[in-house]
C-alpha cells in the first residue's frame, strides 16, 4: 500500500550524505466511524478519513520533524526541507546527539486478525444492533438518558527510512459502548461500559465479545438499585477491584510512572514526572509477590497491539514487573539509549501529525490462581468496586484518588448490598505492595481505551489493559458528600 507515495518520497530524498543523515517517512491513513443512538434517536453519524505523513530527519546530531497532508512530491520535498532545517538549527543545543541513536531497519507487514471487517457490515445492521441495545434498556420513568454507540477505526500505516526500513501495518479497532442514566427523588446514577472501556482490535466480532447485550439488563437494574442505595462506607478496609477499574489503576499508577520519557524529564511541563528513578530498575519492590505485569503488544485482540512501534522497533512481550520487582520501563530504543535503562517497543504517535513519544500500549496484570468467590471469601470487611468514573493522580503518579460507578459491601466473606459513589485513595508506592489476591483466568478481561493523553504537542492514543479482579488490603475507602 502507498507505493506511489513512497516512490515520490524516495525520488525527492537527498542522497545519503557523509554525515549519515537519517530520514524516515511515516504515512498514516485512518478511517474513523462513529454511530450512536441516544434515548431512541439516532445521533447524526460521522466519519473521518485522515491521511498524511510525517518526515523525521536526524542530521548533524540534531532532530527535526515535519508533518504534511500534501503527499505530492513537492509536498514531501518541502517536509524534508523543513525537518532538516529544524535539525540543523537546533543541533547545537539538542538534548542528545542523534548520531548516538541507532534506528532499527525492519521490513514486513502486520494486520489485525479480523473475522468480519467493519466495512462489510451494512449500515442497517449497525443501526439494528444499536436499536436492539435500546430495546434491552427498555422504557422506565427512572431512565432519564441512555446511549449506545459504535466507534470503529481502521488505521493503515507505512514506515520507510533512508536506512532500509519498510513496514506496513493495518490495525482494525472497534469499541461498542453503552451508558444508562437513571434518576429518582433527586438522585442521579449511571451504569456504563466505562467511557469506551471495552475497546478491542478486530472486526464486527468485537461486538459479540463485548457481551454488552447480556450486560445491559444487569446495568439497568443496578442503576435503579443505586438510586436508593446507601453511601459507600468510609474507613480503611479491603478493596476488591473488577477488571474495569483495574484498567485505570494499572494505567495511572503503573503505566505512566514507568514511562522512560517521564523519568528522563521530558514531560515535566505537562503530563508530569515520576516517583520512579533510574536506580530502582532491577531491585525496587513495586508490589507484593503476587504482582506480575507484562507489556504485551502481541495479544491480537487487544486494543494497542502491533508488530512494530512507530520508530520501527519490533514489538515483543516483556515482563515489566516480575513477582513484584520492577525490571523494565516503558520506553523505546531512543529512551533506552538516552537512559541506559531496559525498555520496550513503545515509541508511538497518535497520528501522522505528531512525533512518536514513549507510550503505553498493552499493559497487563497477569492472572493469578484465585476464583472471584475465593477473593471475596477472604474479606472480613471491604468493598467491591466496578467501572471507573473518576480519576486523579499527582504529577509524580504517586498520590491517587479514584472513583467507581458501583460499590458492593463485602462482609464476612460475602457480597452484600450496593453502595453508591464509592471512592478510594492511596499512594502508588505502597498500594501495590498491599496486593493481597489476584484473580484467575475466569476473572480476566481484555479491555482498553482510546483516551490516553500526554505529550507536547498533546497526543491522545489508544491503550489496552487486561487484568483479572484484584484484592488489596488496608485501603482508604469513602463515599460521596
Amino acid at each position: 500500500m502507498y507505493d506511489d507515495i513512497v516512490a515520490r518520497f524516495r525520488a525527492v530524498l537527498p542522497p545519503q550524505s557523509s554525515d549519515g543523515a537519517f530520514v524516515s517517512l511515516r504515512i498514516v491513513d485512518e478511517q474513523t466511524d462513529l454511530l450512536g443512538l441516544r434515548s431512541g434517536v439516532l445521533e447524526p453519524p460521522s466519519s473521518r478519513r485522515d491521511v498524511g505523513a510525517m518526515v523525521t530527519v536526524h542530521r548533524n546530531g540534531g532532530l527535526g520533524y515535519a508533518a504534511t497532508s500534501d503527499l505530492r512530491g513537492s509536498g514531501l520535498r518541502q517536509a524534508i526541507e523543513k525537518a532538516t532545517d529544524w535539525a540543523e538549527q537546533t543541533s547545537n543545543r539538542a538534548l542528545f546527539d542523534t548520531r548516538a541513536i541507532a534506528m532499527p531497519a525492519p521490513t514486513g507487514t502486520y494486520q489485525t486478525p479480523v473475522k468480519r471487517p467493519w466495512s462489510d457490515v451494512p449500515v442497517a445492521e449497525r443501526v439494528a444492533w444499536l436499536q436492539h441495545v435500546g430495546q434491552l434498556i427498555g422504557n422506565d420513568p427512572r431512565i432519564v438518558d441512555w446511549e449506545s454507540s459504535l466507534f470503529a477505526v481502521l488505521t493503515r500505516s507505512r514506515y520507510v527510512t533512508s536506512h532500509g526500513a519498510d513496514i506496513y501495518q493495518e490495525l482494525h479497532h472497534l469499541a461498542p459502548d453503552v451508558t444508562i442514566m437513571a434518576a429518582a427523588d433527586g438522585v442521579v446514577q449511571k451504569r456504563s461500559t466505562g467511557m469506551r472501556g471495552f475497546s478491542q482490535q478486530g472486526g464486527w466480532e468485537v461486538v459479540a465479545r463485548s457481551q454488552i447485550e447480556s450486560l445491559v439488563p444487569r446495568f439497568r437494574e443496578e442503576a435503579f438499585e443505586l438510586l436508593t442505595a446507601p453511601n459507600c462506607p468510609s474507613g480503611t478496609m479491603h478493596l476488591l477491584l473488577d477488571p474495569g477499574q483495574m484498567m485505570l489503576q494499572i494505567h495511572e499508577s503503573i503505566g505512566h510512572p514507568l514511562e522512560l520519557d517521564r523519568i528522563l524529564g521530558d514531560e515535566r511541563n505537562y503530563a508530569g514526572r515520576s516517583f520512579v528513578s533510574p536506580e530502582m530498575f532491577g531491585s525496587y519492590r513495586y508490589g507484593s509477590d503476587l504482582l506480575n505485569v507484562t507489556f504485551d503488544p502481541t495479544r491480537p485482540e487487544q486494543f494497542a497491539s502491533y508488530a512494530w512501534d512507530d520508530d520501527g522497533n519490533p514489538a515483543t512481550r516483556q515482563h515489566i514487573i516480575q513477582d513484584g520487582i520492577l525490571v523494565r520501563g516503558l520506553g523505546s530504543s531512543t529512551s533506552e539509549q538516552r537512559s541506559g535503562l531496559p525498555g520496550v517497543a513503545s515509541s508511538r504517535a497518535t497520528s501522522w501529525n505528531r512525533p512518536p513519544i514513549d507510550r503505553m500500549a498493552n499493559l497487563n496484570v497477569e492472572p493469578g490462581d484465585q476464583s472471584f468467590e475465593q477473593l471475596v471469601s477472604q474479606v472480613e470487611r471491604g468493598v467491591y468496586m466496578e467501572t471507573n468514573t473518576s480519576w486523579s493522580i499527582d504529577d509524580s503518579r504517586n498520590k491517587f484518588q479514584f472513583g467507581c460507578e458501583l460499590g458492593r459491601v463485602i462482609e464476612n466473606g460475602e457480597l452484600k448490598g450496593l453502595v453508591r459513589t464509592p471512592n478510594y485513595r492511596g499512594i502508588s508506592a505502597t498500594f501495590w505492595r498491599n496486593l493481597a489476591g489476584v484473580g484467575d483466568r475466569s476473572t480476566f478481561e481484555v479491555l482498553g481505551t482510546p483516551f490516553c493523553g500526554k505529550g507536547e504537542p498533546n497526543q491522545i492514543i489508544r491503550v489496552g489493559h487486561a487484568s483479572p479482579a484484584c484484592l488489596f488490603a488496608n485501603v482508604a475507602v469513602f463515599g460521596g458528600a
Binding site: 491521511v51 497532508s69 538549527q89 458528600a481
Partner: protein, 440 residues
C-alpha cells in the same frame, strides 16, 4: 487558504442537487512546535494540516464526513466528490433526525488578523537564553490557525489568527517548579524577560526546605491558573444544556435553583473578549456574551443547535460538546499585591492539577496541588508545600466558602494542542477560600 476554501465551496455547491443541503467547516493550521527539556531542544518540528467536515442534509436526514485536504486542487475536489457520494449512499439508511437544526439565515463574517511573528527558532533561542542555564522544560508553539464555514444558503465565515504560546517550567528539583507562560499575537522580547524574571524569583523561594501539611481544612489563595483547573473540570458537561436537562451535569442543582454560589460570582461565555471564532461548526453565530452565573445564580447554559431543538431553547452557538470556549469570571475587590496579606496564614496555590469529580452529583471536586504552592504565615511566604490532594465542593470554593476575589482577572489562553492548537481561553481572577479541605 481562504480562496482555496471558497473554490472548494463553489465546487461543492455545484454538486448539490434536489432537496440536498450542506454545511462545510474547515479547520487548519500551519504550526511550529519545539519541545524543550533541561534547557535544551528535545523535539522540534512543523505541522501543516487542514481538514473539512462536510455535512450532507436531505429531507431531515443528515450525516457528516471529515476529510483531510492535501492542498492539491484536483485531489481535494476528488476527495470532496467522494465524500458527497459516500454520504449520498448513506442517508437513505437513516431516519429523519428530530433534533436537526440548520442555520437558515445567512450570517457571513470575516475576522482575519495577521501578525508578524519572528521565526519559532528565534523564540526558542530567546527562551533558552533567558533561562540562563536553569532547568527549563516546556514547549514553544507558534503559527497560523484558521477556521472557515460555508453552507448551501450562501453563508461564508472566515477566521484566522497568527499567534504564539510559550509554556514552560523552571524546575528547582523533582516536583518543585515554577510554571510560566507568554502567549499572544505580538511577540515582545521584553515581556519574555519580565516573565522569566518573575519565574526566577519564585524559583529562589522553592529552594527553601519543603513543608508537608497534615490533612485538614486550610485558608487558601487560588491563583487564576489554579482556578482555571477548577473550571476545567466544570467544562466537562457542567455548563451544557443536555447535561443539565438529563441530570448528568455537576451543576444541575445550581441550574434548578436549589443551590447558588456567592453573590459576587459572575461567570459568562465572553466571545467578545476571547480568541475563539464567533461561529461554530454548524454555522451558528455566537453572541458576544452569554451569562452563565449572575449574582451567584445559574442563569444560562451552553446550548448547541442540537440541544436547542431537543429541549425547545434557542442556541447560543455552543459546539456539540457544549463547553465554554471563552469563559470569563468577573474580578472582585482584593487589590493586586495584597493577596498574601489577605490570605494571612494558609496556602498560596499557584497551580492545581488533574481535577475530577469525587462526587459528580454533589459537585465535589478532587485534584492535586502542583508546581509553586507555598505555606504562608502572617502574609509572608514561609516554605514551599509538598504536593497535597484536595477534595472540596464547589460551594466550599466559590459559594459559602468564598472570602474574596482579586481585583484583576487574568487572561489565560489555552496551551492545549490535542489534534490542533486550541483557540480557547479563560479570563479569571484569583480566589480567597476560607477553608479548603485537603485529604492526602
Amino acid at each position: 487558504m481562504r480562496s482555496w476554501f471558497d473554490t472548494l465551496t463553489d465546487h461543492l455547491s455545484a454538486q448539490i442537487r434536489g432537496h440536498e443541503g450542506f454545511t462545510l467547516y474547515l479547520s487548519g493550521e500551519s504550526s511550529e512546535f519545539a519541545r524543550l527539556n533541561r534547557g535544551r531542544v528535545r523535539q522540534p518540528g512543523h505541522v501543516q494540516q487542514c481538514a473539512v467536515t462536510l455535512r450532507l442534509i436531505d429531507n431531515g436526514r443528515h450525516a457528516s464526513q471529515t476529510i483531510t485536504l492535501s492542498g492539491d486542487p484536483a485531489d481535494d475536489r476528488a476527495r470532496l466528490d467522494h465524500a458527497v457520494d459516500n454520504l449520498r449512499g448513506f442517508l437513505p439508511h437513516l431516519p429523519a433526525d428530530p433534533h436537526l437544526l440548520v442555520a437558515e439565515s445567512v450570517q457571513s463574517s470575516s475576522d482575519a488578523m495577521a501578525s508578524a511573528l519572528p521565526p519559532a527558532a528565534a523564540m526558542v533561542d530567546d527562551l533558552l537564553k533567558e533561562a540562563d542555564g536553569n532547568d527549563l522544560v516546556g514547549i514553544v508553539a507558534s503559527g497560523t490557525t484558521v477556521r472557515g464555514f460555508a453552507n448551501h444558503h450562501g453563508q461564508r465565515n472566515w477566521f484566522s489568527r497568527s499567534g504564539f504560546n510559550l509554556d514552560w517550567c523552571l524546575v528547582h528539583d523533582a516536583d518543585k517548579a515554577v510554571k510560566a507562560s507568554l502567549a499572544g499575537f505580538t511577540y515582545d522580547r521584553s515581556a519574555l524577560h519580565d516573565e522569566m524574571a518573575r519565574a526566577r524569583s519564585q524559583l529562589a523561594t522553592l529552594a527553601r526546605p519543603g513543608r508537608t501539611i497534615e490533612p485538614g481544612a486550610y485558608r487558601a489563595w487560588l491563583t487564576p491558573s489554579a482556578l482555571s483547573e477548577i473550571f476545567g473540570v466544570l467544562h466537562w458537561g457542567g455548563f451544557g444544556l443536555k447535561s443539565l436537562e438529563t441530570g448528568n451535569s455537576p451543576l444541575r442543582r445550581y441550574w434548578s435553583g436549589e443551590h447558588h454560589l456567592d453573590p459576587r460570582v459572575e461567570v459568562s461565555e465572553d466571545i467578545a473578549h476571547g480568541i475563539a471564532p464567533d461561529f461554530q461548526a454548524d454555522g451558528f453565530r455566537r453572541p458576544a456574551r452569554t451569562s452563565l452565573f449572575e449574582a451567584g445564580r445559574m442563569t444560562g447554559a451552553m446550548v448547541s443547535p442540537r440541544s436547542a431543538q431537543e429541549f425547545g431553547r434557542s442556541t447560543n452557538g455552543a459546539s456539540n460538546g457544549e463547553s465554554p470556549v471563552s469563559l470569563s469570571m468577573a474580578a472582585g475587590d482584593i487589590p493586586v499585591g495584597e493577596e498574601l496579606a489577605r490570605l494571612g496564614t494558609g496556602l498560596y496555590i499557584g497551580n492545581l492539577w488533574y481535577t475530577n469529580f469525587s462526587d459528580r452529583d454533589a459537585c465535589r471536586i478532587t485534584g492535586m496541588t502542583r508546581f509553586a504552592t507555598f505555606w504562608v504565615e502572617d502574609g509572608e511566604i514561609v516554605a514551599p508545600v509538598n504536593v497535597m490532594r484536595f477534595d472540596e465542593t464547589l460551594d466550599g470554593l466559590l459559594g459559602a466558602g468564598l472570602e474574596g476575589l482579586s481585583a484583576h482577572a487574568a487572561f489565560l489562553p489555552s496551551n492545549m494542542t490535542y489534534g490542533e492548537r486550541s483557540v480557547e481561553s479563560n479570563r479569571l481572577p484569583g480566589a480567597l477560600v476560607k477553608a479548603m479541605r485537603f485529604t492526602l
